[in-house]
Amino acid sequence: MGPIEFGDGQKLDVGSKIMILDSGVSYALIPTEDFNKLSEILSKNYGVTCQKGERQESGSQVSSSDCKCKDYSALPSLKLTVMANKDDKTGKALAMPRETYMKDKGNGACKLMLNPSDMQIGAHYGETQWVMGDQFMQAFYTIYDHEKRRVGLVASSNTFDS
């Protein structure tokens, strides 16, 4: 994974290098450090206030963050750069609509669909990762190609406001 760019051009350098797709989780699980940096930008530039993420020692039990959004429709899409592998320096930019990271609950209430989690798994023990769940997979059609050992991500035919 490469940096994440906000609509206003602000860049967030993501500490994690690995992205995992998991259709078994509704919301994404991201490292606490990235979660806090991202929340800070949303708070400073977009008037979103959320509970601060707490470090999770283990397990996947996390509570999602209730937030207040000053103007939900002003939230930007996030441009996320993903690399095919360690040798890929350019990568591909994916525009994540606001619906992939924030849910509008009406009356200024909203819910962050990214949860802090520092769990470590199997082959990548010792490294942090972004686990993308259904919130992400609704925006991206995913193709799993065993023959060529690759995963394809392409903007889904679903429509989004942002």
Partner: protein
């Protein structure tokens, strides 16, 4: 698809509340030699198109509307239908 190998389970616990009646593992390679993974099997058996017609590939489309179901395509993908 005929000639596929699968595992029959006659007792299961804690899944009675779920609205499914089976589990399909989508791991690309089986670690049990005499039991090839489903993804290996669809490629080898070929399904309706005959042997080697279907690729060991699958793709997932998740709908964002309650009224519309998601789709899994085994053996390939359909960009015209599910991508922009």
């Amino acid at each position: 698809m005929s000639g596929a190998t699968f595992l029959a389970v006659d007792e299961a616990s804690d899944i009675d509340k779920d609205r499914f009646s089976g589990i399909v593992g989508l791991s690309p390679l089986s670690d049990v030699k005499r039991m090839p993974a489903f993804v290996e099997q669809i490629a080898e058996l070929g399904g309706v198109g005959g042997k080697n017609f279907i690729k060991p590939t699958f793709s997932i489309y998740l709908s964002n509307k309650e009224s519309e179901p998601g789709k899994i395509t085994f053996g390939g993908y359909d960009l015209a239908k599910y991508a922009q």
